[in-house]
Symmetry: C3
Subunit: 351 residues, 3 copies
């Protein structure tokens, strides 16, 4: 972390926040709310973490508006409209820069003479660039990456070390692709034949648009024909699996270890939480949200929020989750009915 | 896509299909049923997608026999016994070939002098082949692959770039292994000891038979002793985890992100759908089918079809899924009973 | 397997076990209980596998104390207090050694002149070591590994081929990191902005302590700030995902394909079974055990044992699993009540 002292006044200026308590207090660094010491800045962005806020030792704390009345006697509270953005601004001041890529082709890289490299491109050590690949201006290809035949990568993109991009795939501008990602391996398609399973040729590509980020060890398979498509501004976490011929709409979010089966279409702004699975050949409308570990088997209209396996509405899911309690109540009622009935029967027989 | 015009007549000849509508109509390419234009061929392989068929703009459409009566007035329908195979034949005609591997050892590859390379072998840029490895005729080792000591790989196999095969593992003929796959990392075995967990040495290997395909970033761990075994014609999707000492029977299919825990034995033709988990030390008989995201905790006899976590029969699963509805009905009945009982009691007290 | 003949007497000496049956019987190798032949040693460590023990052909079998009365007429039984440890001792005698790493820097490796390499370090072929990286004595960096700027790796650690460690991350002594692992890729953090999702800089590191083992293709993301921490003696299986700012306590076990979301804290000796998912921003106390495929959404006190999604106690989980049966019984009781009520009503009306 950089050596830097900031006062509450200065932090409020940078973040646009409102100070409660001592405006002259200073910090020398940042930390999470559970770990921060009295000379460090921290943040609490949700009422959910009220208890952690109460117990915190942090000298200055950025909080969301509904925590504005937090105790500010022995520390300074700064109320911010958007704590995440506010904290990110301060964190950026303390952050060491990531090491800058060195422009040029490392002598150990293997670049086919037919490949076209833009201005200011950086090709890392032991990277391999195949025939007719095209790399745009300012793009960084990390050490050990493999860029296949006729691959096109746009400008200002960064591929971390050890990424694999197979032949003819297309990657846009300003993308960030983390290590271990595999783009354009064959989709999974087989037809039962008389002597075993017969491979269906996967002759399409993967096309990734601008401003996409892809997490470590994620795999996006090439299409059976046409393309598997990741549209602009999509953010994909680690170890996500995107099957062949899938299309993911603009600004969608795929969280870690989720999987999208072949030929499924996701609209704009869809959120698939961690470890969820989406069936093949279905459509999820714009803004659909799927909870973690859910299994979606049918198409969903825009705006649906689903949870569970098979996925259902939150209301239905809660009804299912609370079913044992409900059944327990029914059991008690039945016992009651039995008792009443027995009593009534006794009464009747006595008459 | 290749530049090629095909008439319905020619397509029917190639696929063995039956033409409904204009036999002279032509197409210049292929596409999925949702995207295909009037000069493109598409296909619909199941009655499930009848609506997409009705709305399609595709000029010529291959359909399965039970869609034979589809509207063929402004387009040509070709009825095929197996649409998947039929379409694959036409798709192959339009497909650009994958780039061919160049036989020989790339000068940047590091091949131990004791390694034995067959005829026509291709070793990609920056690949590493260790001592006493054996690579069969016509096999392709992609750029950046690591082939460990004493590894044996058969003939006509293809390893995509950046595959890792650890020491002494054995891979058969005509296998296809996609990028990021790790074969022969240590199995996961520890014994609690007085000063923490003690590693159990993993001294066995992985043995993969002929005609196996393995998807990107899948991991198959080496055995504690003996071997982890993938038998012939098994097809494994991306990000699958196969634990140590597992045995997978001939022609089985492991779909994306599923996991098989240690020492479990799968019979022939087993299908494990996406994200399912199979417990360790159990046996799944021939032809067992496990639905996506299911968790199998006990051995299953041949032919079982299971779903859910813990996995149960489809019938039991449906009963479980529909339980809230059933309980709702019981609730209503109890209310009815209460009312009737109250009425009866009132009647009795009036008598 | 090494060529070695061992008698039951010798095996009992090595393992400290007690012989039942012929002490002079010999074996030439080891195998699993299902495969072992009469000249091989095998083992059964749990009463659960009693049937396999009954059917085994193995000449000598190590068993746990509660199988001490197993039939020892045509084979020799050796009763061991800890079968796993006992078998591991014998297995070690038959095991071929893993190939030893060659000390020194392979000529094809690319090592920045500012990197500091300890004594007896081995840097594999085509590995890349960046500026100011520090590698401790006796540590092995496998072929094709990428070790980023200012990374510190301790002594006696082993990184298998094709591991990626990003800038500034810290790895301890005696760690084992398998192929395809990515340490220090960016954590997944975005803030919704007016023109799409805005990346939150991930400025922290990953810190891994001594004696940690990490399975193939696992990913551990760098912190948003501060560090993602894996404490000493933690054992992580293949394809596990550890999010940014997570802390995993000493001697915890993360089984294959599980995932821990951002900022969550696991205590000491926590066990997360395969494919389980742990929510972000929660705390799991010491010794918590989470069953396979479970989803933990809330913090858990030390010693909790949970299962299911959302995770609950084993008792609640069993109650949920057996609910269809219970509801069936209630249904029958309601029918009974209806019949009795009808009878009573008939009786009343006749009076």
């Amino acid at each position: 972390m950089k050596d830097l002292t900031l006062s509450a006044t200065r932090i409020a200026e940078i973040t646009g926040g409102r100070i409660c308590g001592d405006a002259g207090r200073t910090v020398n660094g940042i930390a999470g709310i559970r770990d921060a010491k009295s000379d460090q800045l921290s943040f609490v962005g949700s009422k959910k973490f009220e208890e952690q806020l109460a117990n915190a030792a942090s000298g200055i704390i950025l909080v969301c508006p509904d925590l504005a009345d937090a105790d500010a006697s022995n520390r300074t509270i700064i109320v911010c409209d958007n704590v995440d953005i506010a904290f990110a601004k301060i964190a950026a001041l303390y952050a060491e820069e990531a090491p800058a890529a060195v422009p040029g082709v490392h002598p150990s890289a293997v670049v086919d003479p037919t490949a076209k490299l833009g201005e200011n491109v950086s090709i890392g050590a032991n990277a391999v660039i195949e025939r007719d690949a095209v790399i745009g201006d300012n793009t960084v290809i990390g050490a050990g990456c493999y860029i296949g035949h006729e691959v096109k990568i746009g400008c200002n993109s960064t591929l971390s070390p050890n990424v694999t991009v197979m032949y003819r795939c297309i990657i846009g501008n300003k993308t960030i692709i983390h290590s271990g990602v595999v783009i354009g391996a064959d989709g999974f398609g087989f037809i039962p034949g008389p002597q075993g399973l017969i491979k269906v040729p996967q002759t399409g590509i993967v096309q990734i648009d601008d401003d996409v980020e892809i997490g470590a060890n994620t795999t996006i398979d090439r299409a059976r024909f046409g393309c598997t498509r990741i549209k602009s501004n999509v953010k994909i976490d680690d170890q996500v699996m995107v099957g062949h011929n899938v299309s993911v709409g603009e600004s969608s979010i795929l969280v870690a270890q989720c999987g999208i089966a072949g030929s499924t279409v996701l609209g704009r702004g869809v959120i698939i939480a961690a470890q969820a699975g989406i069936n093949g050949h279905i459509t999820l409308g714009d803004g659909v949200q799927v909870a973690g570990q859910s299994g979606v088997v049918k198409s969903l209209p825009a705006g649906s929020i689903v949870v569970g396996g098979p996925a259902e509405s939150q209301r239905d899911f809660i009804a299912r989750i609370t079913l044992p309690k409900k059944v327990g109540k029914l059991e008690a009622k039945i016992k009651e009915l039995e008792a009443k009935l027995a009593e009534l029967k006794k009464l009747a027989s006595e008459q």
